[in-house]
């Protein structure tokens, strides 16, 4: 198989790949295949083929710029090897000092969301106001309508930035967490023991 770098420049797919590179380097957020196809004025399927070309060119260990599929779109980022240099010049404000409370809140919004502050407080057992405000400020969550009940509380969902910061293609990439069976069974048994003593 020929390396894509040796394709003759007049190849139409290679021309499309260049267009995509130009669009991606200007973009400040991931671009969907539809966005790219519309901007390049080309067919979405051909755009996906061209993205494979771009991905081969901009891959870890080959380039300082890496193409990644993240947050439902395509984006350039720095190669992991260059993280140290990047860290000397740039800060990652969305990620610094995420407290345990903020992480738990973020996890609940990511798994249960869209959900309201009372929903979060119910699961965590403490008020979620400050961690919700914190996450909103960082842009990791955003408002997503209100509870359907009258005067319903504001609901929140995670943002594309969340998926990007955590390197997720989409929320479906979050692992399933229903296998905490052992713990739950143990808790239940202990509570049963207490309950039986009380009713005795």
């Amino acid at each position: 198989m020929d390396s894509p770098l040796r394709l003759i420049p007049t190849d139409p797919l290679d021309q499309l790949a260049r267009t995509l590179e130009a669009l991606l380097v200007v973009a400040s957020a991931p671009l969907s295949v539809e966005d790219l196809a519309a901007a390049a004025d080309d067919d979405p399927e051909r755009v996906e083929d061209a993205l494979r070309l771009v991905g081969e060119r901009f891959a870890e260990d080959r380039s300082g710029i890496v193409l990644e599929h993240v947050a439902g779109g395509w984006a350039f980022r720095a190669a992991r090897e260059e993280a140290a240099a990047c860290a000397r010049l740039f800060e990652r404000p969305a990620q610094r000092n995420l407290s345990q409370a903020a992480l738990e809140t973020l996890a609940i919004v990511a798994y249960v969301g869209p959900c309201s502050r009372p929903d979060i407080a119910r699961i965590r057992g403490v008020a979620a106001d400050s961690s919700v405000a914190n996450l909103l400020e960082r842009g990791l969550i955003a408002e997503a309508g209100r509870d359907s009940a009258a005067g319903g509380a504001v609901r929140y969902r995670t943002t594309p930035l969340f998926e990007r910061v955590f390197g997720l293609e989409s929320l479906s990439e979050l692992p399933r967490l229903d296998d905490v069976g052992a713990d739950a069974a143990e808790i239940r048994d202990r509570l049963y023991a207490v309950a039986e003593k009380r009713s005795a």
């Binding site: 993280a83 738990e104 973020l106 798994y111 699961i123 403490v126 239940r188 309950a195």
Partner: protein
Amino acid sequence: MIVRELELDLDAFEGPFDLLLALVLKEELDLRDVDLAGIVTAFLERLAEREELDLEACGEFLVLIAALLELKARGLFPDEAAELAELEPAEAAEELARRLAEYRRAKDAAEWLRERLAAEGDRYFRLGPAPLAPKVETPLAPQDPESLARVLSMLAQEPPEVSLSHMALRFPPVSQFLERFRALLRRRSRFDFETEVGEMTRLEQASAFLAVLELRRAGELTIEQAAPFAPIRVTRIAEENIVREERTSEWTVRSA
């Protein structure tokens, strides 16, 4: 060891335990913001520093922390607290276990996110607002320059001269109609305004109408009209009721 003097260093509160209690009881500090496990940890640390087990302190602490826990639980589940109390012990245990398991899942998810964040910590990318989309230009159909010229020439024309002819108009004197209608009403008790003025010019009709209004003001007649644009019926008022107010000043009306 005095429990009340236990020094606390929590997210929501820093200071002695008794101050925390006071603030909570005065509702100046929301118990929902207070990490009660942190208080327990602080107490256990203090306890471990001592050689002997201070049972009295332990007992007092248990009472206080249990009260706080109950307060906090009630605050967090205001409606469900009652709901839960109505449940059978086994059901209540099931419900609590369900909630604890739910929280455990949230904690596990948070742990996964923390690990993920550490693993993805070397990802740097551009952050910023989306650039503005280019303005969409609404395309126009090809235009004929002649039609533009035609429209412009319409605008460039001298406006028509404003007619001042009405300035010279003279209304017939109202007094003339006053006399006429008085004479008419001496002969008949009522008449139709339209019938009387039907033959007149518009200016005369206007003066005639003013005369009718004037007579009505003087209380010599009444005016009725069933509906807008219906015939106007003028009726004489009995002679003895008329307050004579001769008003023959020759006021003529000029157009406004």
